[in-house]
Symmetry: C2
Subunit: 152 residues, 2 copies
């Protein structure tokens, strides 16, 4: 079910705005951030992928003029990404269709009670997953001599 939905969502984003799923997530996150800005690390928190993958997608956004990148003021190691007016415009173009896809495919067969249950249950799963030490994101070699590797 999740695969089917994801596939349709990605297709709509691509057709309506030429956006990959990750690009949409980044733009949406930036759009909701104060000043339309966020640091790469903050952006990474919402996404699964590697830092290099994030850099790649952010570069694509910059090339299309949907976002700008600049060294962070507070911490010069960091990069601050900011959504542009054109970025917001693309987001506006894409959003109605995005909501429509979800409405058609996900919400149509559900009533208010179903949606509430889903939000509750999946919300708990999400919180749980976030609280779990990300086995994946944790480089194996991170373990010092004191910590015996679990995954052999």
């Amino acid at each position: 079910m999740s695969s089917l939905l994801r596939h349709s969502v990605e297709q709509q984003l691509q057709e309506a705005g030429g956006l990959s799923y990750v690009q949409f997530q980044l733009l949406a996150t930036l759009g909701d951030s104060p000043g339309g800005s966020a640091r790469m690390t903050d952006l990474a928190d919402g996404v699964v992928y590697s830092r290099s993958g994030l850099t790649y997608q952010a570069q694509l956004l910059e090339k299309r003029g949907l976002a700008t990148r600049a060294p962070s003021v507070e911490d010069e190691r960091g990069t601050t990404v900011t959504i542009t007016a054109e970025g917001r415009s693309v987001l506006d173009d894409v959003f109605p269709g995005h909501v429509a896809v979800l409405g058609d495919l996900l919400f149509t067969p559900l009533d208010g009670s179903d949606v509430a249950q889903l939000a509750d249950v999946l919300g708990r799963v999400r919180d749980h997953m976030r609280s779990v030490p990300p086995r994946s994101a944790a480089p194996r070699r991170r373990s010092r001599a004191t910590a015996p590797p679990r995954d052999a």
Copy 2:
């Protein structure tokens, strides 16, 4: 939530058996099929992807000796894919860890009632999505001559 879970699942499949998510789906489907066989078209029904993508993954399985491919007996246009003993072996290798990932990440914060609700609600969504006409060719905002194109 779905992305996080999917990512962890894919990682486990890759580490435990060198399987992509699609390959695992194919092997699992074959394993549950009578005689361990199914036609490409039948396999495609369970998966989102294109036929060429399915051919690609089936070829990989064949190269690794996890499945065989042969012309179908009834309909010589078709290809019958069959899981091998080694394919079942890899499936057995991978399965416990697969279940463990789902247990850890998905089911831990849920009780029996939650799981039942989830199965009910998502089951209806799945049925609904399957009943809907192919999404790819149906851009819903694509209107007739009355609506001017706004994406110029």
